[in-house]
C-alpha cells in the first residue's frame, strides 16, 4: 500500500514535470505509433506467407505484440527511468539524499522517476491486446483472465528483479549503460513467441534476460496454452528473483560509501 502511495506521489510529480513540455506528448505519440505500426507490419508480412507460425494463429501473434508493448511501456514508465536516475546518483554521490529519507531505499529508488508519457505504449499495447483477443473469438473465461493477470504480474515482478539486480551493480561498476543497452536489444526478441527460437536461444531468453516470463508466458495464458506447472514455475521464479535481488541490493548498499567528506 505504502509503495502504491509513493508511486502515486512520484507519478504526480513526474506528470507536472512532463506537462511543462507538452510537445513531447505528440512526439511520444508518433514514436509509439511508428514502433507499434512497424511491429504489426512485420507480423502482417509474416502472416501473409503462412497461416500459423509454430501453431500460433495471426491473432495470437498480435496478442504477443500487445503484451510486449504493455510490458515495454511499464519498464519505460517507471522502472528504467528510476533506476537510471539511481545509477547516476551512485556515480555522483547524491544517493545520500535518498538514504536519509525515512522510507525503504529500494522502494524509493525504484519509483523515484515516472515518465508519464510512456503510458502511451502501455495503452497501445493493451488496446492491441484487446483487439486481438476479440478476434480470437474464443471465450476468455474467468479462469483464463485470472491466469493472464497473474502471469503478467509475475512477469513484471521478474523483470523488475532483473533490473534492480542490474542497477545494484552500479555500487561496484561505474558505467552500466551498455549493459542496459544489451537488455533492450535482447528484449526485442520478445515480439515473437519464444517457441520459434532454437533451444539455445530459448534458454538465454528465459534465464539470462527474462523475456520468456515477461511476454510469452502471459500471452500463453491468454491463448489457453498455459499449463498450471508453467504458471507455478513462474511463481517460483518470481519469488526467488524478488528475494534474491533484495538480498543483492542489501549487499550492494553496504558497499556504498557516499560522497560526503
Amino acid at each position: 500500500m505504502n509503495a502504491l502511495r509513493l508511486l502515486w506521489v512520484f507519478a504526480r510529480v513526474g506528470a507536472m514535470g512532463e506537462l511543462a513540455y507538452r510537445a513531447n506528448f505528440w512526439l511520444q505519440l508518433l514514436e509509439s505509433f511508428l514502433a507499434m505500426g512497424s511491429t504489426l507490419g512485420v507480423v502482417a508480412v509474416v502472416v501473409s506467407q503462412t497461416d500459423s507460425l509454430h501453431g500460433w494463429q495471426p491473432a495470437e501473434l498480435v496478442a504477443v505484440v500487445g503484451v510486449y508493448f504493455a510490458i515495454l511501456g511499464t519498464i519505460n514508465l517507471v522502472i528504467a527511468p528510476s533506476l537510471s536516475q539511481f545509477m547516476q546518483d551512485v556515480r555522483e554521490g547524491t544517493l545520500d539524499f535518498t538514504l536519509t529519507k525515512p522510507e525503504d531505499a529500494q522502494l524509493l529508488v525504484s519509483v523515484s522517476n515516472v515518465h508519464v508519457f510512456k503510458l502511451i505504449d502501455v495503452v497501445f499495447g493493451l488496446a492491441v491486446l484487446a483487439l486481438a483477443t476479440a478476434r480470437l473469438g474464443t471465450e476468455v473465461g474467468p479462469v483464463q483472465a485470472l491466469a493472464f493477470a497473474s502471469a503478467l504480474l509475475l512477469g513484471a515482478a521478474i523483470v523488475y528483479s532483473f533490473w534492480i539486480a542490474l542497477a545494484t551493480m552500479a555500487f561496484w561498476f561505474i558505467r552500466l549503460e551498455n549493459v542496459l543497452m544489451i537488455f533492450w536489444m535482447v528484449y526485442g526478441a520478445g515480439r515473437w513467441p519464444l517457441g520459434i527460437y532454437p533451444d539455445w536461444m530459448r534458454w538465454g531468453l528465459t534465464l539470462l534476460v527474462p523475456v520468456a516470463f515477461a511476454v510469452t508466458v502471459p500471452a500463453e495464458a491468454l491463448t489457453g496454452r498455459l499449463d498450471a506447472a508453467t504458471l507455478g514455475g513462474a511463481a517460483l521464479v518470481a519469488s526467488f528473483a524478488l528475494a534474491g535481488s533484495r538480498l543483492f541490493w542489501r549487499r550492494g548498499l553496504r558497499q556504498y560509501s557516499g560522497a560526503s567528506a
Binding site: 508518433l30 508480412v45 506467407q49 507460425l53 536489444m185 526478441a189
Partner: protein
C-alpha cells in the same frame, strides 16, 4: 591527390585510435547488430518450416544465407550519423569542426571506416557463430560476385550521403527523433531488412526496387547471393548510381543552407 591521401591517412589514424579506446561501447552496438538479423532469420525460418516448403524461393537455409549476408553487408554500409548529429548542433561541438579547413564529412567517413575496421575483430567471429548455428546455403554466381564490390561502394555512399543530409534536419528542429524514427520505419520494410522484398505485396516490392532503401542493402545482398538475373543486376546498379548522385547533391544543397542557420554558443 597526394594531399587528399595524406588527409585521409591522418583522419583514419585518429579515428582508429578513438574507436579502440571506446571498444566496449562499440561491442555492445555489434551485439545489437547481430541480434536483430538473427531474430528475423529465426522468424522466417519458422515460416518456411510451418509451410513445409520454400517461401518465394527461400527455404530455411536460404534465409540463413540471406540474413548472414545482410549482417555482413549492413556492417560495411551502415552509418550512425542520424543518432549523433543533433548533439553536435545542440551542444555546439560543430563549431570546432567548422573551424577546420576541411568539411566535417571527411572526418565522419574516416570514423565510419575506422569503426568497421576495428570491429572486424568481433564481426568475423559473430558471422562464424551465425553460420555454424543456422547452416546457410550459399550458391554464389561468379559474375554477380564480381559486381558486388561496386554495389557495396555505391550502397555505402548512397546511405552515407542520404543519412548525413537527413541528419542535418537537426539545424531546423533540435529534436530529430521524429525524423529518425520515421526514416527507420520506412527503411525496415523497403530495404529488405524485415523480409527480402520479394516477400512484400507485389505492388510494394515493385515500388521498393526503385527506392534508395533497397539500393542501400537489399540489392547488394541479393546480388551476393546470386538471386538476380543479369538484367536486374545491371538495372539495380543503375538505380544505385542514380541515388548516389542524388544523395550527393542533396547533402551538398542541405549543407549550404544549414550552416547559414547554425549559430552556436561558443564552448
Amino acid at each position: 591527390m597526394k594531399q587528399a591521401l595524406d588527409l585521409y591517412g591522418t583522419l583514419l589514424r585518429v579515428a582508429i585510435a578513438g574507436n579502440i579506446q571506446y571498444r566496449a561501447a562499440g561491442m555492445v552496438w555489434m551485439l545489437g547488430m547481430v541480434i536483430e538479423p538473427v531474430i528475423y532469420l529465426v522468424v522466417w525460418s519458422a515460416v518456411a518450416d510451418s509451410r513445409g516448403e520454400s517461401v518465394a524461393g527461400y527455404d530455411a537455409r536460404d534465409f540463413a544465407a540471406y540474413y548472414l549476408t545482410f549482417f555482413v553487408l549492413h556492417h560495411l554500409t551502415f552509418t550512425w550519423i542520424m543518432e549523433v548529429f543533433q548533439y553536435r548542433v545542440q551542444q555546439g561541438s560543430l563549431s570546432f569542426e567548422l573551424l577546420r579547413p576541411i568539411h566535417p564529412i571527411y572526418a565522419d567517413i574516416a570514423d565510419n571506416v575506422a569503426y568497421k575496421l576495428v570491429m572486424l575483430v568481433v564481426m568475423i567471429p559473430a558471422a562464424v557463430v551465425i553460420a555454424l548455428a543456422f547452416e546457410p546455403r550459399f550458391q554464389p554466381v561468379g559474375w554477380s560476385l564480381a559486381l558486388l564490390p561496386i554495389a557495396v561502394v555505391l550502397a555505402f555512399f548512397t546511405r552515407f550521403f542520404l543519412e548525413w543530409g537527413l541528419a542535418m534536419s537537426a539545424f531546423w528542429t533540435t529534436r530529430t527523433t521524429a525524423v529518425n524514427r520515421t526514416y527507420y520505419s520506412i527503411y525496415l520494410f523497403l530495404s529488405g531488412r524485415a523480409a527480402p522484398i520479394a516477400l512484400l505485396p507485389a505492388w510494394l516490392s515493385g515500388v521498393a526496387e526503385h527506392l534508395p532503401f533497397y539500393a542501400m542493402i537489399g540489392f547488394p545482398v541479393e546480388l551476393a547471393l546470386g538471386k538476380l538475373s543479369p538484367e536486374r543486376a545491371l538495372s539495380g546498379l543503375g538505380v544505385q548510381l542514380v541515388w548516389t548522385l542524388f544523395a550527393l547533391g542533396f547533402v551538398a544543397m542541405v549543407w549550404r543552407r544549414a550552416v547559414r542557420r547554425f549559430s552556436a554558443v561558443g564552448g
